[in-house]
């Protein structure tokens, strides 16, 4: 490479400057593409980070047992309407495992809390044990949490549900029905403000009832959405997990239809559905990047056609094909990289704007910056190489003869 890179850069700078508007608009196309990808990635990283924070707030001795479909690809596995493979006897076994300090099942009871004609949308009824309060770090703002001695017909409800049902956040003593069964509110949870958490339950909209009551409502056999366990210490967590695994394996006759998740694994997006939504969003965002790339290719082709005589001249005075390729490739790279840089910045600005309406913030991570850089570099190369090759293949004699 005999031509210095700085020459190529100043060369490209000159020619981009001579078509300022065109270069700006082309770069803008890339900016929009990179920005939309960055927005999706930054926000979804924000979601993951929230769960990660919750886990680290829980001292790291938490594990979650979830049903797992034996045939992978079942994205609805964590939805309440899918039959769960974890049953109450399993829960009993988990509870009895040495090293397990607290354990709390979460059973999603089909049914909506109802008061008169009010049936708040998005609300959910879960049945669990009093230990959930410790594991999920739930705080009761008014009244008390369900415990061993409270009546089966009592419930603790989230603040938002309280407001939706009774029009007040101080609803202790009020009653509501689920599937005709009457429950008395004995406590209201402090606003949790985390619709996304490792329990996959929005506690602000949940009514929490006793496991026994939930069993009754769902007709006896109680499939569990997940079981949370807390080991006595972090050190005992792994031995507890192994013991539980052994027990469940024998109880399920070797069917690996459950998963025991601990540590950072819990922080991962809680469902395949989430991953898929993220993937689809990124794919859609990438379409605008593709369009931007096509814009670059288009402009570079125009530029090559416009400068045919210049190419001929440069070849006549000693430019090799490689020189010509680099000249045009660097031009498209400058457009795509500067567009990418602007897009990265704009993406975060927009993501922070969006996050004011959401419960989580976008996150700055190196992988996202890397993705933005790689995308803009990739687009520049992929869509710049063809025009550059076309330029280098031009016959100098023909090119010099051309008038424009």
């Amino acid at each position: 490479m005999r031509l210095l890179i700085s020459d190529h850069l100043s060369n490209a700078y000159e020619s981009l400057k001579s078509n300022r508007t065109r270069s700006f608009l082309t770069g803008l196309g890339i900016s929009i593409g990179v920005a939309s990808v960055v927005i999706v990635l930054a926000l979804s990283a924000g979601v993951s980070q929230i769960i990660g924070k919750q886990i680290s707030a829980l001292d790291g001795n938490i594990a979650v047992i979830r049903p797992q479909s034996t045939n992978s690809g079942d994205i609805t596995q964590q939805q309440s309407f899918a039959p769960s493979t974890i049953t109450e006897p399993d829960y009993a076994a988990i509870q009895a495992t040495p090293g397990v300090k607290h354990s709390a099942p979460i059973m999603i009871v089909g049914g909506t809390p109802t008061k008169g004609d009010t049936k708040p949308a998005g609300s959910i009824v879960i049945a669990t044990t009093p230990e959930l309060q410790d594991i999920a770090k739930l705080t009761v703002k008014d009244g008390q949490f369900i415990d061993e001695v409270t009546n089966q017909q009592t419930a603790v409800i989230g603040e938002q549900l309280s407001i939706d049902l009774f029009g007040t956040d101080r609803s202790a003593g009020s009653t509501f029905t689920v599937k005709g069964q009457r429950f008395t509110v004995i406590g209201v949870l402090k606003r949790f403000n985390d619709p996304i958490n490792f329990n996959t339950v929005d506690f602000d909209q949940a009514a929490i009832i006793h496991l026994a009551a939930g069993k009754q409502l769902s007709g006896g056999g109680a499939p569990l959405q997940q079981v949370n366990i807390q080991a006595s210490s972090s050190a005992q967590l792994s031995s507890a997990i192994r013991a539980i695994d052994k027990q469940l394996a024998s109880a399920h006759q070797g069917d690996k239809d459950y998963a025991i998740i601990s540590g950072d694994e819990i922080a991962r997006p809680t469902s395949k559905l989430f991953t898929m939504i993220q993937g689809v969003s990124v794919a859609i965002a990438s379409i605008s990047l593709l369009v931007g790339g096509i814009g670059i290719m288009n402009i570079m082709l125009v530029s090559v056609a416009e400068r045919t005589r210049e190419i001929g001249l440069r070849k006549a005075i000693g430019a090799s094909n490689a020189h010509i390729i680099w000249q045009f490739l660097i031009e498209s790279l400058i457009m795509s990289l500067s567009g990418g840089l602007v897009g990265y910045a704009a993406g975060y600005i927009i993501a922070f704007g969006i996050s004011t309406f959401l419960t989580f913030d976008p996150v700055f991570t190196w992988p996202i910056a890397g993705v933005a850089a790689a995308l803009s570099l990739g687009v520049g190369v992929v869509f710049g190489i063809y025009p550059a090759f076309k330029a280098s293949r031009k016959d100098p004699i023909e090119s010099l003869r051309q008038y424009h």
């Binding site: 005999r2 031509l3 210095l4 700085s6 020459d7 100043s10 000159e14 020619s15 001579s18 005589r309 210049e310 001929g312 001249l313 440069r314 070849k315 006549a316 005075i317 000693g318 430019a319 090799s320 094909n321 490689a322 020189h323 100098p396 004699i397 010099l400 008038y403």
Partner: protein, 315 residues
Amino acid sequence: MAERTGFEPAIVLLPYTLSKRAPSTTRPPLRTLITILYGRLYKTRHTKGCRNASIAPIIEAMVKKHTKPTVIKLKKLKKRYGIGNAEHYALDGVDLVIEKGEFIAVMGPSGCGKTTLLNILGLLDRPTDGDYLLDGKRVEELSTTKHARIRSQQIGFVFQNFNLIPRISVIENVALPLTYTGMRKIKRLKEASRVLKNFHLQEREYYMPGQLSGGQSQRVAIARALVNNPSIILADEPTGNLDSQASHIVMEELSDLHRRGNTIVMVTHNPKLTTYASRVIHMLDGKIASDTKIAVKDESRMEKIPFGLGRRVSS
């Protein structure tokens, strides 16, 4: 360039012998002798490609002084276009020897192959058949990248329509060929500035090409062709787009370059311009119809005068 080693006493006598014989009129035998001795040296040294450091420059200087080295040699050069019945030879066996310091005007009707000849000389095109030796080396079979390098180092082009790049200044246009030799920017601009000074264009250095008259543009283009100190300057109708006055100025510049010892091949339609040339070649149907050498008025003026300061020593 072969690697140069230390002093070789065995061959010290050589320049002496040569200098005794040099003034004689037997130039071709002398050159043959030099070539043979050169070859011997080359072979006796055994070690890969090294030549005697002390005598090589002396021999080169002598060759320069007492002979007119051949810049270009064409042997039965052919260029065919089309196939089958459309087959047509733009060049049909051209034999041509161009010596250093010649100013050749190539004349002929349209389609006689003169532009094709120029393109092949400039390595922009490849001959279909025949040999092309540039500075003694066969070049027609080299790769396009090597051709590009030769163009950047040994050939200067002057075009009918100037072909200056409109968006960069005059000085940068002139410095452009040097970019492809890997020279740094400041040095390039210095070099370009020096060449422009010789064309009395230094106050136009930072003009844009669009601000120049046709004659000035062509002089800038000639400066650009000259900036890399080429072995040969190829001009394709350099005055084709100029009025008679500008033509005259441009031809004076070319003629001046010729007096300074540069080798120029110019294609033209205008018979008046042949008065500036030292040799006129008429072409017809891809063949050289006539080749007239015009008597050189003053031999001493053929000596190559270094153009500007600090020209690169030819390597």
